[in-house]
């Protein structure tokens, strides 16, 4: 499909969207987005495109505005200016729930789980939400079996079968983060936002997580956008990297281009050495 036909298709499907000339369908697009906190510009006039099926990393020094960037996409914060477009729809002012329904699901830098519940119960909430039944005051046998089967499936995907009945709050940190990813996965994301998925993990835990992210992307067909500090991981798995610095996009491109970018080397990689 040529760029021109893609443009037309988008225009007919969603007249609100303003797709720009991109190589592929603009899956997630941010147009001149800013977010201010008082006088501080945490995100400053950022424009950003991401294609469906991408595995993209967001990097940048501390205070670069990475988490705010995620908050703007996931709907935790409204932008001060600019527009956020997802899958052809302007979602700038849409609720978190609407975004999740469209397939944007995130995890947090500080693990957000249901600490007093088991792995199974954590994932069950997501599965029931995904099936749209979580307001039901009773559950039939058939439905219950279907729900349980799906939970077991997800637990198998993230390799936690032997810990399914354990209380999440008592699991190792790495496992807790895996549970969070599994819960996010349970609602059927199209775009998964992972905020520092390996933060605070040991080597083997990190390896497990990296493998999981890669498999989600390749086997489950989920588009993944992740914030990460560990450059080995970033350059190891990301297909494309966006570098933020002081709220602005410093560079954007495939790993080899980023690692060669003199600006990035000066502002970020140099500093990290």
């Amino acid at each position: 499909m040529s760029a021109a036909t893609a443009h037309e298709a988008a225009a007919t499907a969603a007249p609100m969207a303003a797709p720009q000339a991109a190589a592929a369908w603009p899956f997630l697009q941010m147009v001149n987005v800013s977010r201010r906190f008082g006088s501080l510009k945490a995100v400053d006039d950022v424009s950003f495109d991401m294609a469906a099926g991408e595995l993209r990393a967001v990097i940048g020094p501390n205070g670069a505005g990475k988490t705010t960037f995620f908050n703007l996409i996931s709907g935790l914060l409204p932008p001060s200016q600019g527009r956020v477009i997802f899958d052809g729809e302007d979602i700038t002012r849409r609720s978190i729930a609407h975004r999740v329904a469209k397939g944007i699901v995130r995890t947090f830098q500080i693990t957000e789980i249901l600490p007093d519940l088991s792995v199974f119960e954590n994932i069950r909430v997501g599965v029931e939400t995904a099936r749209g039944i979580n307001a039901r005051p009773w559950i039939g046998r058939g439905e219950r079996i279907a729900v349980n089967r799906r939970i077991e499936e997800l637990i198998a995907i993230v390799n936690l079968t032997d810990k399914a009945r354990r209380i999440v709050g008592e699991l190792a940190h790495g496992d807790q983060r895996v549970v969070e990813v599994a819960v996010a996965l349970s609602v059927g994301p199209r775009l998964l936002l992972l905020d520092e998925p390996t933060a605070g993990m040991g080597d083997s835990e990190t390896e497990h997580m990296v493998d999981l992210v890669r498999r989600l992307h390749s086997d489950q067909g989920v588009s993944v956008l992740f914030i990460e500090h560990d450059m080995d991981i970033v350059f190891g798995i990301a297909q494309r990297i966006t570098v933020l610095d002081r709220g602005r996009v410093l560079a954007d491109g495939p790993p080899e281009q980023i690692s060669a970018d003199p600006q990035v080397r000066a502002a970020y990689l140099g500093e990290a050495e």
Binding site: A97, E112, I139
Partner: protein, 312 residues
């Protein structure tokens, strides 16, 4: 003992209560009162223990249920089932209507607003003399015999106990089903982590509202039985002191456990009944129960055995 065996033993003990309670010096009405309070507190615990909303004004719906039932019998129809039905609706609808004001709050705010709303109802009841009897309470009605086709069941003390036990069973079945359902799972998830749930695309407010409303109905249901217990209801049944008592009964038994409130009620009601016969200073002892539970046994009786109930 397995869980099933324990629960079976509990039901047998409850069914046989009118025989064994007098033998150890109790009285049947005390058994009825315990079960009535158990329904109320287990209902409240849907909000408090399972949804994590600190409802501190629950007595209002309990009392409204009582007035609804009493006034039905006094002014409308002499029918016990109708009195229970109407009372339950009155209290439950009050909670449903006010739910939206409550559902967005958390923690301290939730507590303060529920207390204040409870006091609003208290003052309406206590000042609306012509209808409610005001400070003197509502008297002059009596529970009516139950007519089942040609069979007439007189509501003697023992029969009334069995009516209460039947209601308890129904309420337990309803609450158990709810907590096993996706709705119940969502409540627990809200208690555990509201933000996580929001980012799964759930709007927690609506579910908190549902929880608050359902708890209101169940507490009101208990309130109707309470009015029928002594054929009397008074504004003190809506007062925040009773709300506080309900909460401590739940915490005493264990707020994370389904049957925890029942245990808490048994201990609290029996202790109050016993202590207030023993000493003028029983309030100090009740107060000490509050303080000691909070400081030493925050997980309650059930929590001691349940490693899930983490507090600090």
């Amino acid at each position: 003992m397995t869980r099933a065996a324990t629960i079976a033993a509990m039901w047998i003990a409850l069914i046989a209560l009118p025989w064994w309670l007098p033998l150890i010096g109790g009285y049947t009405a005390l058994g009825s009162k315990v079960l009535i309070y158990a329904i109320a507190t287990m209902g409240l615990n849907l909000v408090l223990g399972f949804t994590g909303g600190l409802s501190f004004g629950q007595a209002a719906y309990f009392g409204l249920g009582g007035y609804g039932a009493g006034m039905t019998l006094k002014y409308l129809v002499p029918s016990t089932p109708l009195a229970i039905l109407i009372g339950t609706l009155v209290g439950g609808l009050a909670a449903t209507i006010l739910g939206p004001l409550v559902m967005r709050r958390r923690g301290i705010y939730f507590a303060m607003i529920t207390i204040a709303i409870g006091q609003l109802f208290y003052f309406v009841i206590v000042r609306w003399n012509e209808v409610t009897g005001g400070e003197d309470g509502l008297a002059g009605f009596g529970r009516q015999d139950i007519h089942l086709g040609n069979v007439v069941i007189p509501l003697t003390d023992v029969n009334f106990y069995y009516l209460v036990l039947l209601c308890f069973t129904v309420a337990v079945a309803v609450m158990w089903t709810l907590l096993q359902s996706p709705l119940g799972h969502t409540w627990v998830a809200i208690r555990e982590n509201r933000r996580r749930l929001q980012f799964l695309g759930v709007r927690p407010e609506r579910y908190v509202w549902a929880s608050f409303a359902i708890a209101g109905f169940i507490t009101a249901f208990a309130g109707t039985l309470n009015a029928l217990l002594f054929n009397f209801t008074s504004p003190q049944d809506l007062h925040w002191i009773l709300s506080g008592d309900f909460v401590i009964m739940i915490v005493l038994g264990g707020m994370r456990s389904f049957f925890g409130p029942l245990i808490g009620v048994i201990i609290f009601v029996v202790a109050q009944d016993y202590l207030s016969s023993l000493t003028d200073n029983w309030m100090t002892f009740i107060g000490l129960i509050f303080v000691l539970i909070v400081l030493l046994f925050p997980r309650g009786v059930f929590g001691i055995f349940d490693r899930r109930a983490k507090i600090a």
